[in-house]
Amino acid sequence: MAAKLMPAGQVGRSVARLEGRAKVTGRAEYVHNLRLPGMLWGKILRSTRPHARIVRIDAHAAQALAGVFRVVTIDDIRTVIPDPYYGPAFHDQPILADGKVRFAGEPVAVVLAEDRHVAEEALSLIEVTYEDLPAVYDEVEATGPGAIVHDRLKPAGTFPDLKHLDGKRDTNVALDFHLRRGDAEAGFAASAHIFEHKFRTQQTMHTPLEPFVTAAEAGGGAITIYTASQGPSFVRIEIARLLGWPENKVRVKVPYLGGGFGAKLYIKLEALVAALALIARRPVKISLTMEEQFFTITKHAATIHIKSGVAADGRILARRCEVWWNGGAYADVGPRVTQKSGFTAAGPYDIDNVWLDSYAVYTNRPPAGALRGFGVPQMCWAYESHTDLIARAMGLDPLEFRRRNILRNGRPQATGTVLRGAPIEAVLEMLGERMGWGRAYDRANGPKRRGRGIAIGFKASIAPTASVAMVNLYGDGSCGLYCGTVDMGQGLDTGLAQIVAEELNIAAEAVTVVHPDTDVTPYDMGTLGSRSIFHMGNAVRQAAGDVRAKVAALAAELGMPAGSNVPIAELLRRKYGMQAGNIIGFGSYMPSYVSPDHDTGQTPNVSPFWMTAGTGAEVEVDTETGHFRVLRLVNVADVGTPINPRIVATQLSGAAIMQLGFTVTEKMEFRDGQLTNGSLADYKIPGFFDLPDAMENEIVDSSQPDGPFGAKGVGESGTFGVSPAIANAIADAVGVRLTELPLTPEAVYRALCAAAGNPLAED
C-alpha cells in the first residue's frame, strides 16, 4: 500500500505505534490495573427472567455474610440519583432494575465487598421473587400486538427527530425513520422485472478482550471516574446530568482500552459505579466477566425486506426497503443506527425512486447498540446479496450489473444529498481487477467446488458532531497533544501525533499524546463511526496551526525578522528569561449538517464524508458436508490519503476478519429469552485457524478535500462487504443462496439438500 509523504515527511509514513513498547512489555496502562486505596469491589446480581415484575428482593442473608460491605438496589441508588434513568437517545435504562426486569441478564442488585470472591458468594444468597410477564424476542413480531417492553417512550431530548415520540404508549417501536424519494410505485410499474427478497442477521457481541471495567472515587462534592470508555466527554455530561452537578465536578479519565468496537460508548458501568461510590463513601470498582459482556451491549439482529424494479437493460428503476432492528430491552444508540444506516439501505446505487422504512424495535433481549459499521454491515448484507440475486436472475455479470447502476460523484444519494468525495466506481473497478474478474474462473468439478463473489458498500459519517483539541509546547520546545479521543487499539494516538508533527515540522515520535481526562483534555463527541481521524484530525491540525501562528507572533514580538528559524525553547527563554512558559494552540471542528426531513428523509447535507469499500471472496465448498473455506479475501477501500499506511492496512484487515466472525461463526443463541452460549467456549470468535488462506488489502487513489491532509476514517470500512461477498461466492460455487447469517456448514448443507429435492427435517 503506497502513500504520499507530505513535505515534513510525517504524514504518509508508517510510524510505529507510540505506545507499542508499553504494550509488548505488558506495562501499558488499562483501568484493569487500577487499585484505589480503600477500594470496594462490586459484583452484579442479574435477572434470571426475560420479562418480569420484581415482587421482592430479600438481601438479608447476603448482607449478613462476613465481609459484605453492603447490598445495593435501585432504592439505594435513588438516594443519590433521584431519577436514575440514562441513555444517549432515550432515558429508558435504569441504573439497576426498577420494579421490573426487561431481559435475562439485566442488573438487579450489587454486592459491595473488599474481597471480590466474598461479593460473588453473597450474590447467591440474594433471593428475588419475580412475577413473569409476557415477553417478545423477534423484532418483527414486537411491532404487532402483544408484549410491551416499555410502558411509555422517554426520548432524551438530544435528538430533534425523537421529540414526537415523547410519552408515546403501547408501542415497541422506539423510532420509525422514513425516506421517500421519487415515486417508488411508479418505478415498479415501469419496470420489466420485479425482485423481492428477505434477509436476516443475527445478534452478536463485540467481545473486546478487556471486559467492561469502571472505578470511581467521590469526595468534596466531586467525583472521579476511571473507565474503559470510548466517550469520556459523553460520560461526564451524562453523569453530571444524573447527579445534577456541573461538569467541572465530574472528572472522567480513560487510559488505553483493550478493544472497544463500539461497545464502550455512552454509559455502560459508569452511572452504576458512580452511584455506588457515593453510596458507599469509598472507592468502588466493577470488572465484568466475559459472560457479563453479553448482557451489556450487542450488535442488532435485523430483518430486511428489499424489493427492486429493474428495466430490461439492467437499470434499477425503483427500490423499496423495510428494516426492523432488534434493539433489545434498552435503546442505547439503536435509534441512531436505525436512521443513519437506514438512509443507506438502498445501497451505493443511483436509483431515482426509493422508499425506505427503518424501525428501532424494543424486545426482551440484551440491548443492542453500535458495532463497527453502525448498522451498515447488516444493510450491505441485504442489498449486496439482493444485487447478486438480480444479476444472476437476469443473466448479467454481477460486476457489470453493479457498474451499470453505481452511484457516482455529483449524483444525489437517496437522501437527496449530492455525493462528493466517494470513489465508489474506483473501488468497484479495483475490486474487479484484483479479483481477476474478467478472466475465466475454474469452479472445479469434484465434490469440492469453487466460487467467487464481490460486494460493495458505503457509509455516511456521524453528524452533527464536534471535536476540540489543544497542542501545548512546553518551555524546552517539546510538545504535548491534548484531546479526548480514545486510543482503543486503532492507533489514533499515533495518527494524530503525525498530524501535529507534520504541521510543526517535528518528528511524530517526539509528540506526547495526553490520555483523555475531562479535567485536562477538551471536549470530543466520542471515538466512534470512523469520525476521529477526520473530525479530531481537523481539530488537531488547526490547534497545531494555531501554535505555529503564535510562535511566529512571539518571534515578531521579540524583534526577530520574519522567517527566522529560532528554536522555540530559545524564544520562550528570551521572553521569560528562563526555561518557562507555554505556547498553547486550540482547534475545534464541527462540519455542517442538515437534519433529514421528518416525512421524507431528504436533506441537502447528510454527511461530512463518505466511506466506500468493497470485498471480494473466493471460497471452496464441500458439497458432501456443506463445509466451506475462504481461499482468498480481498479488501478494497477508499480512505482518502492514509496518514499511516500500515495502521490503515491493519484496520482494514482487522475489520474484515472481525466481520468474518460475524459471517460464519458468531451468533448469540437464545432459548426462551435465555442466552445459552455466553462464553468463548460456545461463542466462537476468529482465531488463527479461521483466517482466509490469503488476504489482500488495497486502497484506491483518493483524497478527501476537507480531511486533514486528505484523510478520512477507516476503522469500519473493511466490514461492509465481507458477509455478502462470501454468500455470493457460495452461490457462485454451488448454486444455493443463504439469506440468513451466520453462514454455517449446516445452513449450506441444508440448502444443498433442499436444492437437490431432499430437504432435511428441521430440529
Binding site: 513498547r21 505488558g26 488499562y30 482500552l257 475489520a655
Partner: protein, 160 residues
Amino acid sequence: MSAAPRTIRFTLNGQPVSAQAAPHHTLVEILRDQFSLYGARESCGQGLCGCCTVVVNGEAVSGCLYLAWFADDARVTTVEHLASGDRLDTVQEAFLEAGAVQCGFCTPGFVLMTKQLLEHNPDPSDDDIRHHLSGNLCRCAAYPEIMAAVKLAAQKVRAA
C-alpha cells in the same frame, strides 16, 4: 470465603518471593494483587483466549485457571521479565517492528507463546505458528501482522 490462606513460596521473575494465597486464588490474581504485575490479565476466564499466559517451570499455563497453590516451589515467569532494562527481547522487538500490536490486551500472551515456540523450534513453518498460537485470541485480529512478527523474530533469533 471460608478457606484460610497459607503462605506459598516461589521464584518470580528470578527473585524468591512469598505470597498469601487461599485455595481458590488463581495465579493471575496473586500476580496482580500482591506483586502489581498486570501483563498477565484475565479476559475469558476459561483458559481459551491466552491473555493470562504465565510461564511456570518452563511451561505456558493459563494463569486464570492455574491455582496459586500449584505455584508453590515453582519458577514463575511473566511478560515483565522478558525485557532487560530498556532492552527489549527479540520477540518484543519483532512485534513492534511488524506492527503486530493493536489494543495490546492480548499481546503479552502472544509474545510469551512465541518465545516458547522459538525455544523449541527456531524455524517454524506457517502451520507450526498457527498451531502453536491457536490458543491465543486477538479480537483486533492482527493475525497477519502477528504471523509476520513471529517469522521476523525467528529470523532475528537465528541470526543472533
